[in-house]
Amino acid sequence: MSMPAYYTTKDKIWHYTFRVICFAIFFFLLAPILIMIPLSFNAQPFFTFTREMLTLNPDGFSLRWYQDFLESASWRRSIQNSFLIGIAATIISATLGTLAALGLSRSEMPAKGLIMGILISPMIVPLIISAAGMFFFFSSINLAQTYLGVILAHAALGTPFVVITVTATLVGFDHSLTRAAANLGASPTRTFFKITMPLILPGIISGALFAFITSFDEIVVVLFVAGVEQRTIPREMWSGIREDISPTILAVATILVLISVALLTVVELLRRRGERLRGMSPG
């Protein structure tokens, strides 16, 4: 951005200071991730930069923690679990959440405020309380320490994100499109699958991604509800931190960050595609 001719020196200083401050904050956001990646190549079993690493001596670096991770059966299982639980929970929350958002965005929906409040309560209620409640409840109906229990718990935690994003997408949704479809002779079901669904798909996907990440990064409920069979990645990291803090978790995290970057890119591309479809110029 070029500066206007009327800027005084003070204006210019502020102009640059503001940018410096912003980049400092962005740096703050990224610092832990930036620190984590080199440490995952540490040759030593500690979370500190060794002298070799600082002098860029190749001996200070190794792939042993990646190897550790790839060879460990429990890590492998936890990855399977994380994906299994995450995907199953996401499917449940995306389906139910999208349906509910469709209902909520209808103007004739009764008691909208109350229902919305209940539906997003999993996001509002402190996790420890949710976890404790589910722990007692699931124990009493034989769902504790089962996959189904963890999946249901995570689905509940993920739905608010789907409801919120899909509702927001529907606010911008042009309802005359569904009317047009009905007018052209399409039944309500057909209208949903051919018109509504393709158009709100970006919202569903980004809500689903939020739900997936919620499950994928969730530890408190897992600690309470899951058994050893259902250990997820965060749960495995948790015992890593309790037992012996080895850089394996950093290796895992580095890999996960790469996955996150990929997912974020997908979201961004989807968003641009969505805007193109809706006729806005991609920004």
Binding site: D174, N183, L184, A186
Partner: protein, 366 residues
């Protein structure tokens, strides 16, 4: 102007009422009958219930009471997607994720039509609106006028008997708008389809329609062909809403068959056509078109003739609007064609104005 011969009652509204909130009636006791092949326009100010009527006809709103029939059958219990009515939405409502071709093909597809037949019909519809080459484009890649044509083609491609259009030209600029008015009118005539058209632009209504229903406050104020509407408004609202209008207020002095004399507030007496006057002594609004007022030579010979003063001249290209003081009314407008006669008028100048009895209509007081 109307050259269709409406077999009364292809679409009828029978004592239809509509309320959204249970407290106020948005449509109040609507009775309306539209003939097959007719181009019928609903005209009215914003909020007068035009869209609501259209939506009830299309099935997106339910009438609170009363009955709507289509081709003689009540349609209250027919869901929208089974009514077979084409509709052009105000914002076109083209499906953004489909190409133009897919948009047009959609109504045929849901009717289970075969691929080759579909393609053929789509092509014919596109050609009709002169957009034959655009089948592969997305709506976002079209200009407003082009989108409008596609919306029209889509509403017609499945050959409905009835097409509804809700202010389809509202978002277009003047030039494009005029071109599209012409095209829609042309298509209506060549296909013989029945059209219910909503607008709040009176020029549009007058130009295009066989019949115009003037809406206000949830009621039809007058239903008539354009010329009748302009020449013979039934009440003050219609007179004021259609075209430009000078209004003079006064009390009815005497009634003489189809004419009457009205004494204005400044004492002048005006002779006018008796249209909507109950008796002598009541208040009345006189309505007079600016272009029917004769200014200068010839004015004195008219049955109504007054001395007037030019207050303002407003140049409008093809004509000049002259604001004058006539019978104590400062807002009296006279339209003078912008040709030799009109060019040398001056502010402050005095001149006689006059008009004939049949051009001045005595209406209800409001």
């Amino acid at each position: 102007m109307s050259d269709s011969s409406p077999d009364d009652g292809f679409v009828t509204f029978d004592r239809v009422q509509k309320s959204y909130d249970g407290e106020t009636l948005v449509v109040k006791d609507l009775n309306l009958s539209i003939g097959r092949g007719e181009f019928m326009t609903m005209l009215g100010p914003s909020g007068s219930g035009k869209t609501t009527c259209l939506m009830m006809l299309a099935g997106f709103e339910t009438a609170t009471s009363g009955e709507i029939t289509l081709g003689g059958n009540p349609i209250n219990s027919v869901p929208p997607h089974k009514r077979g009515i084409g509709m052009v939405f105000q914002n076109y409502a083209l499906f953004p994720h489909m190409t133009v071709g897919e948009n047009l093909s959609f109504p045929l597809e849901v009717r289970g039509m075969g691929k080759s037949e579909r393609e053929q019909k789509v092509k014919r519809a596109l050609d009709m609106v002169q957009m034959g080459n655009f089948a592969g484009r997305r709506p976002a890649q079209l200009s407003g006028g082009q989108q409008q044509r596609i919306a029209l083609a889509r509403a017609l491609v499945f050959e409905p008997d009835l097409v509804l259009m809700d202010e389809p030209l509202g978002a277009l600029d003047k030039n494009l708008r005029e071109r599209m008015q012409y095209e829609i009118k042309h298509i209506h005539e060549s296909l013989g389809v029945t059209v219910v058209y909503v607008t709040h632009d009176q020029t549009e209504a007058l130009t295009m329609s066989d019949n115009v229903a003037v809406f206000d406050d949830g009621r039809i104020q007058q239903l008539a062909p354009p010329a009748v509407l302009y020449e013979k408004p039934d009440n003050a609202f219609v007179a004021a809403f259609i075209g430009e209008n000078n209004t003079l207020r006064g009390k009815v002095d005497a009634i003489d068959g189809s004419t009457c004399s009205v004494r204005l507030d400044n004492g002048s007496v005006v002779k006018a056509l008796r249209v909507n006057v109950e008796g002598t002594g009541v208040q009345s609004t006189l309505s007079l078109r600016p272009e029917r007022v004769v200014l200068g030579e010839g004015a004195a010979e008219r049955p109504n003739s007054f001395e007037a003063e030019v207050l303002e001249l407003i140049y409008l290209g093809d004509h000049i609007r002259v604001r004058m003081n006539v019978c104590g009314d400062d807002e009296f407008i006279v339209k003078v064609p912008n040709n030799a006669d009109g060019r040398d008028m001056k502010v402050g100048q005095k001149a006689p104005v006059g008009w004939s009895i049949e051009d001045c209509r005595a209406l209800d007081p409001s």
